[in-house]
């Protein structure tokens, strides 16, 4: 059970994120009023919770910002760039404090005080907008709460108090129909309120009073604008002896009858919100579920093996049904652990927004296809590489406005992120229409660092790939944003860790495009089962080119050569690697791809293809990296999955015979 602090932290982070998303939308030109209201609401909730959990300084800071947003809500202030920047600063500080759990750290305290000071400065200076019309308006309001209203901690009397601040009112309470006094539950709401409010506030301002209860109550508002009537003052006491509910509105209409009434707005603010269609689940529960499903699949595979040898038709049918259900269950559970790429987009939008201010360039960020869903682990590990790539595009790629216009481009630079699924892989394209990568500069730097051979004529694609080398960076100065030369190789490493790959294309003065290709599932791969000695091993199919029969008779060393496709390829005897057998003759070889060369692996038997659920061997085998993991076969046996690249590499180092020295 998560502690209260953990729950607070999680909720606060979510509120901050939704506040941030709203800000980003607003700063991108979204002018809807609801955005400001939502921003205000988020701040209000953050203020309350922060105070409850002892973060008084954050609560105070939030309160100052909330007051500003209140003014924006009321139309007394405009949300300008300065405010947006301050709000972003607020988000950063709040995140850092809530994450560390401590707001009394001197650095953080100072940042908080600084920000409070800046916000207060703004409050005292105003950027007023004309205030609303000041004639008297009568509103008929009917508040019908849902039964659960009180359970949300709301009290209708506070709403009445707030309304009273707007003007004068009279109200009538009514009982819900069908209220059963024999089963009266005092925790539920059974009464509604009708009231007539006389005020000079606009209908929007009246609606604001209900924002905290509108999710749990049906609110009807009818406006009777007295502007065009001869009535200056309405005596509300005329309505006070009406006992019959729902006659209030009729009576008001009758009283004002004969005079043209402008029913300006008939607003039912909203129905109580539909029940939430999603539920928050702790990740450890998902992990458990995943592992149980994998166990189910394995056990079911064993059952299949046992049933194949049976003649009981009924058994075979049931086992087949079980197989279908298990597969569907596995697919569904796997999809539960998938989250849309969208969920991390805010960070990227925020980054571009910040960078465009910091670097003084105009940059537009477009995304498409980010609804695709990826494994949570993959997404979490994609964030850093993507942030780095986007940073590079903004810093090195996009030029400043003057240069762009001079080169015939639009003033505003464009960075785009497109995502889509292709077969069993997800593809992410990050493109910018900036300066492009200067291949000559890259080649020069590579030569200087000794990474390139001066006598070799490199293809264009190969030159560009030098940027992925550790320590490579052509930025002349180290800025806070980039230039330390630790970027691209780390990006590549992180992508490789996710079993993906990254390529880059670029045209000078036109732009650069990075392509990231990721497999959709990490833990299931297609494998080839082979037998070496008495053990069964799995070779991941992605490495395998072909299986061949060995015709050579005189192979008697760890490394040999065999004929393949009109030439010779080296072959490594897995028998020698894995067993102590002195026999050399191996009847079959699996030809694999090793660094763009063909290498054979000698085995005793090739058993067939198998879909493999990868299991880690754990820390106790961390020194045996030749195995990428293990899997459980249908017969319950554990079978080791070979890391082909490592095995070949390790045994290259061991080779004694100089005859085979030219594999590279």
């Amino acid at each position: 059970m998560a502690s209260l602090e953990q729950i607070f932290k999680q909720e606060c982070m979510e509120l901050l994120e939704s506040f941030e998303q709203g800000l980003v939308n607003a700063s991108n030109g979204d002018e809807r009023k609801e955005i400001v209201t939502d921003l205000f609401r988020s701040l209000h909730t953050i203020k309350g919770s922060a105070s409850m959990f002892g973060f008084q300084k954050i609560s105070e800071l939030t309160h100052e910002l909330e007051c500003l947003f209140d003014e924006i809500r009321e139309g007394k202030r405009i949300l300008n760039q300065e405010l947006i920047t301050l709000s972003f600063q607020f988000i950063d500080i709040a995140r850092s404090v809530v994450d560390s759990g401590n707001e009394n750290n001197s650095k953080e305290s100072k940042l908080i005080q600084d920000l409070i000071f800046k916000i207060k400065n703004i409050s005292t200076s105003t950027n007023f907008v004309t205030s609303p019309i000041t004639n008297q308006i009568l509103y008929y309001i009917n508040i019908k709460p849902s039964e659960q209203l009180f359970l949300t901690g709301n009290n209708l009397l506070y709403v009445i108090d707030d309304l009273l601040k707007l003007g004068k009112l009279t109200c009538r309470i009514y009982l819900f129909e069908n209220t059963n006094f024999n089963q009266f539950n005092f925790q539920k709401a059974h009464t509604g309120i009708e009231l007539i409010l006389e005020t000079n506030q606009s209908v929007d301002q009246v609606k604001e009073q209900f924002i905290f209860i509108q999710d749990n109550a049906k609110i009807e508002i009818e406006e009777f604008n007295l502007l065009n009537t001869k009535i200056d003052v309405v005596d509300l006491s005329n309505f006070s002896d009406i006992c019959n509910p729902f006659l209030l509105k009729e009576s008001l209409t009758v009283q004002l009858d004969g005079i043209s009434l402008a029913n300006v707005s008939k607003g039912k603010i909203n129905e109580p919100e539909k029940q939430n269609h999603s539920i928050r689940v702790a990740s450890y529960k998902l992990d458990e579920l995943m592992s149980l499903v994998s166990e189910l699949i394995t056990t079911q595979a064993q059952l299949e093996v046992a049933a194949i040898h049976s003649t009981n038709v009924q058994l075979i049918n049931v086992v087949e049904s079980l197989q279908k259900i298990s597969r569907r269950m596995r697919d569904t559970v796997f999809s539960v652990c998938l989250i849309p790429l969208n969920s991390v987009m805010v960070r990227f939008q925020r980054l571009i927004s910040d960078l465009s201010i910091e670097l003084n360039k105009e940059i537009k960020f477009e995304t498409s296809g980010t609804e695709i869903e990826l494994d949570k682990y993959v997404i979490e590990n994609l964030v850093d590489p993507l942030l780095h790539l986007l940073r590079n595009c903004a810093d090195h790629g996009i030029e400043d406005s003057t240069t762009r216009v001079k080169n015939g481009k639009s003033k505003v630079g464009l960075i785009s992120l497109t995502a889509y699924i292709s077969g069993t892989h997800a593809i992410l394209e990050i493109k910018d229409d900036g300066a492009g990568i200067d291949k000559n500069k890259i080649l020069a730097k590579a030569l200087k660092l000794g990474l390139a051979d001066p006598n070799f004529k490199y293809h264009e694609e190969d030159i560009i790939n030098f940027i992925f080398h550790p320590g490579f960076s052509t930025a002349q100065t180290v800025t806070s944003v980039s230039g330390r030369g630790v970027g691209m190789d780390v990006v590549k490493k992180n992508i490789t860790k996710l079993k993906g790959n990254i390529t880059v294309k670029s045209e000078l003065n036109q732009g650069t495009q990075f392509n990231i290709r990721l497999p959709l599932t990490l833990s299931i791969t297609e494998g080839l089962l082979v037998k070496v000695g008495n053990s069964v091993y799995v070779i991941p199919l992605e490495n395998v080119i072909k299986c061949v029969e060995i015709k050579e008779e005189n192979l008697n060393t760890v490394w040999s050569y065999i004929h393949y496709n009109e030439s010779q390829i080296p072959i490594l005897s897995l028998q020698k690697v894995f067993t102590t057998s002195t026999a050399f003759k191996y009847p079959k070889a699996v030809v694999v791809n090793f660094q763009n060369q063909l290498v054979g692996l000698g085995v005793d038997e090739v058993l067939g293809e198998h879909q493999v659920v990868l299991k880690s061997l754990g820390n106790f085998y961390k020194d045996s990296p030749e195995y990428g993991g293990a899997t459980i076969l249908g017969n319950g046996q554990v079978s080791l999955v070979l890391d082909v690249q490592r095995i070949i590499q390790n045994h290259l180092n061991h080779q004694q015979n100089q005859k085979y020295g030219n594999l590279n």
Binding site: V577, F620, S624
Partner: protein, 162 residues
Amino acid sequence: METSTNQAYLTFSVGKETFGANVKSVLEILEVPALTTVPQAAVYMRGVINLRGSVLPVVDTRIKMGLPFQEDTINTCIVVIQVEQHHQLMPLGIIVDAIQEVIDIQENQILPAPTLGNFANTLLTGMIKHQEKFVLLLNIQKLFSSEEIFELTETEEITNNL
């Protein structure tokens, strides 16, 4: 309020000695199933087994304690324990020659472990006398989370002479 606490220990034999492990670290006990050896691993790693769908590494306790290898007998079992590695609790199987029983020990019954020999100094948390035999209380965490082989033989001499 009485302060003497009861602890339960699982006793088992390895070589000529009887050891006790606090049940808090013990997850379950199994018979030895089909083992898959992992070639070129540490000498005390016997291999891996399939434990209800997960891959469980198995340590040969005799070899970890510096004793010579012996074939498994009908009494040989795997005790699945929990060991902390890199701030995480990981399951690990250890092969023992025979399981004996679970005994309740009062804290005040625990005698200090014999202090001679590297094995005793680092790996024993104490010793008790149970039914005319000495049971060495083992620090499971220390023995199995490190990569060393601890020489048990020195301690054997000591306990034999007690």
